[in-house]
Symmetry: C2
Subunit: 486 residues, 2 copies
């Protein structure tokens, strides 16, 4: 299927509007809101029968901070400078950082949080200090990534930036999105569900002038006076694309997203001259906590070597686990701290023993290798030190109360949750760029349809994807609405 | 710049031909040869002032085998079954393997080598058994990759597959390409140099019908009756693309290729509906040999841990070095085997000492970590064993003759040679595919413009890129020439 049709060759349109937003998840709804607020006529196309997207399925944590801190951070006593936040994101994404985008994000955090509250979403002035994926205490502020872990602690002051709707447990996405969708509707947005956008309409000069959707199994052509905004999610549900772009993780047994994450937005954008980048990167989750005491264990590879500080965020573990030569990793833990991880069903107990030597032999490690690792670790842990990977003192204790367990967290049986981090190259305004980084007139994108702030699992933190999608979705809507109509 | 123009909107063409080949390197010349042999009229566009491409700059080693072995392999006493070759390639590229492509390649090796010889390129019936990047003995057959290293030895019988023009030292590319270019010319091919292809011509149904080039600074439109074949190399010279797709290696101080490797072919193919895949992968060279005795050293990361068997191929080392947390790696070697690597200028001596402890302290390793690594290594090396990474016995000897040197091979100062391994998704016939894996009529591609056999540095071996480019270049030319003319 050709994903772009020539404007000059179309005779008539079924609808004319200022802006057409493709996809009604977090990014799409945020851009529709801004575009309507700025006075544009907006039609939203949603391929499923209701809005919400992957944001609605998430806890809707947003990773926000900077400029001294959001209202929530400040009221709970946490200052967060733009510089500190920027340093943290630099350490997270390194070579891969989009500096312009980060500058806008680290300056706009407090305003974005204020917008969330103004929509009518409640955030509780409570800070959860523990180590968990999502606070189950009803509190709205928590650490969600690698802020308290080495090497991040070397460059940035740890500040909690996970902003979670109040008392939502894991259902923050429903709380947030039902509110946002309602607001967008109240603004008089034309919302069409069961409407899958299939093709962009582009004129001979390259300007995007509309969309062709499939509604009631028939083509439905929309002419846009200002812009099309692609917010159709990532591509984790697209078998062909995951095979081609994420061979490291393919086949993906546990795709994290909604069924519409088939890459439609990315593919339409590329067909119109856009540039798909970062396509080989994905979020990959190995949830080795909660319970937090599992952090007292150590991870080793097939050589019996440690490769990470165990107090890191789950996606950082996923990243490094996938880089081990045979993708096999194991947690060694003693009886005092043994537990089953709450969210990781598919672990396997490889060996249990009264001594490390017994475990080593049973599991087939190189002779002496695991023993040497444990001896080195224990010796320093006893002094509150981890010379290799600098795990924080709070999680250091010799592994010394038998029996011991070796638990496999290897990728071949783990079925880790995965979603994609590659997409269209866009300006922070959402304008879609060609490979020469020229703007494609009339085309915007946001959310996981673009390569946004989070670019690798190595530096990911919960809340970065929803934070990025809603923050830059708004900017795309605003920028599109400022265009001349024609 | 729009990289595709609409056929229906063009009034006239400057030239009409059956096939236009974009780029006159190894892939382009091979496809032109086949297309002419099949009776098609062929125009070749070369952006520089002479043909040759990156193949001409290389040693022109070709990685060939299978079907019992090439004439060279067989005459030198090496049998190489298709199954054995396939098993090796599977171990090299794993999840990333293009099975259809590999099947064709492992069956067609002997015929392809016969073609090379029939062109008039001489290959000497001599086998070089040593460990070197390119045999300097004039011999034409050698091991070039990880064939004799773990874990490859577990799945495939080691067979040498590097086929090198005779007595060429590092100038095999000149020997081979000057012959091939001459043959292509003799066949009456219309060759245009200083002619950079800029845009594809595509009709409203998606069929590619020509190319627009820039010649004498003016547009020059070519209408093709059969096909356009994109063989314009990779993108290592494209600043924007390397920044976006290879952030891990950016900036690339030592791009390995010709100045025309700007991604033109990939970008034109994508503009016509093609799908760029594997874009984040590249060949990266850390040439830690020759001299071969450097293989007696051990590589460690900043934690003082070994991470690889040191008898592996240089690109596999490059791959794993780039995955270490801070991209820092060091070789520890004793006085008996110390030497400077022949091809890696930018190494730095980090520490020298009479004891490992002294080195460890001077270099700032975690206390005891390097000592533990060396003790474990030495203890087993003395018995001819490497329980961690299974370095071959020939390269195992305790590191025990002081003084010792620690040599940094870290990426930040090493300036490793790099070229790109991502490109268009194509069938083994060279037909360019859309993201839905539908064929784009009239469009073919080969060489580093496509994602070919070699897909990651981890499994690369010298000769795979030129082997793939010429082998599949030929198939693209043949397939294109079989199309109806219109």
């Amino acid at each position: 299927m050709q994903r772009v049709v020539r404007f000059e060759e179309l005779d008539e349109f079924d609808l004319e509007t200022d802006i057409c937003v493709v996809g009604f998840g977090g990014a799409g709804a945020s851009s529709a809101w801004e575009a309507r607020m700025a006075g544009s006529e907006v039609t939203v196309l949603e391929q499923s029968s209701a809005g919400g997207g992957s944001t609605m399925m998430s806890a809707c944590e947003m990773y926000l901070g900077g400029e001294g801190g959001t209202a929530l951070q400040q009221e709970l006593g946490f200052a967060d400078s733009t510089e500190n936040f920027t340093n943290y994101l630099k350490a997270c994404f390194g070579d891969n950082l989009d500096e312009e985008r980060v500058a806008m994000y680290t300056q706009g955090g407090p305003e974005h949080f204020a917008w969330c509250e103004a929509l009518g979403v409640a955030y509780k002035r409570g800070y959860f200090p523990g180590r968990d994926v999502v606070a189950m205490t009803g509190d709205s502020l928590q650490f969600t990534g690698n802020e308290r872990s080495w090497p991040f602690t070397e460059v940035a002051e740890p500040v909690p930036r996970g902003h979670l709707p109040a008392d939502a447990d894991h259902r923050g996405g429903q709380v947030f999105m039902s509110t946002l969708l309602q607001r967008v509707e109240e603004l008089g947005t034309d919302i069409r569900v069961d409407a899958r956008a299939r093709q962009l309409v582009q004129d001979k000069h390259g300007r995007v002038r509309g969309v062709i959707a499939k509604i009631d199994n028939k083509p439905f052509a929309i002419r846009t006076r200002q812009a099309v905004i692609l917010t159709a999610g990532g591509f984790v549900m697209n078998e062909q694309m995951t095979r081609q772009h994420l061979p490291r993780y393919y086949p993906i047994d546990n795709p994290h997203g909604n069924p519409g994450d088939r890459g439609d937005g990315i593919l339409m954008g590329v067909a119109a001259g856009g540039h798909a980048i970062n396509m080989g990167e994905a979020f990959i989750c190995i949830a080795h906590y909660p319970p937090p005491e599992l952090t007292f264990g150590i991870f080793v590879n097939s050589q019996g070597q440690r490769f990470i500080n165990e107090d890191i965020y789950l996606a950082r573990l996923g990243h490094y686990a996938s880089e081990q030569q045979d993708k096999k990793v194991y947690m060694l833990i003693d009886n005092e701290h043994f537990a089953r991880p709450a969210y990781q069903e598919h672990i396997e107990i490889t060996a249990v023993g009264e001594t490390i030597e017994e475990i080593e032999t049973d599991a087939g490690f190189p002779p002496g290798a695991l023993q040497a690792t444990v001896q080195y670790y224990n010796e320093h842990a006893a002094c509150g030190e981890d010379p290799l990977f600098h795990k924080a003192k709070d999680w250091l204790k010799p592994i010394a109360s038998p029996p011991y367990a070796l638990v496999s967290y290897s990728l071949d049986h783990l079925k880790p949750a995965i979603f994609t981090l590659g997409g269209l190259d866009v300006k922070p305004t959402g304008e879609v760029l060609t490979p020469d980084r020229e703007v494609i007139p009339g085309l915007f994108a946001a959310g996981r349809t673009v390569a946004g702030i989070p670019r690798t699992a190595k530096g990911y933190a919960s809340g970065m994807s929803v934070g990025d999608a809603t923050f830059f979705g708004r900017r795309a809507g605003r920028q599109a609405a400022a265009l001349d109509r024609s």
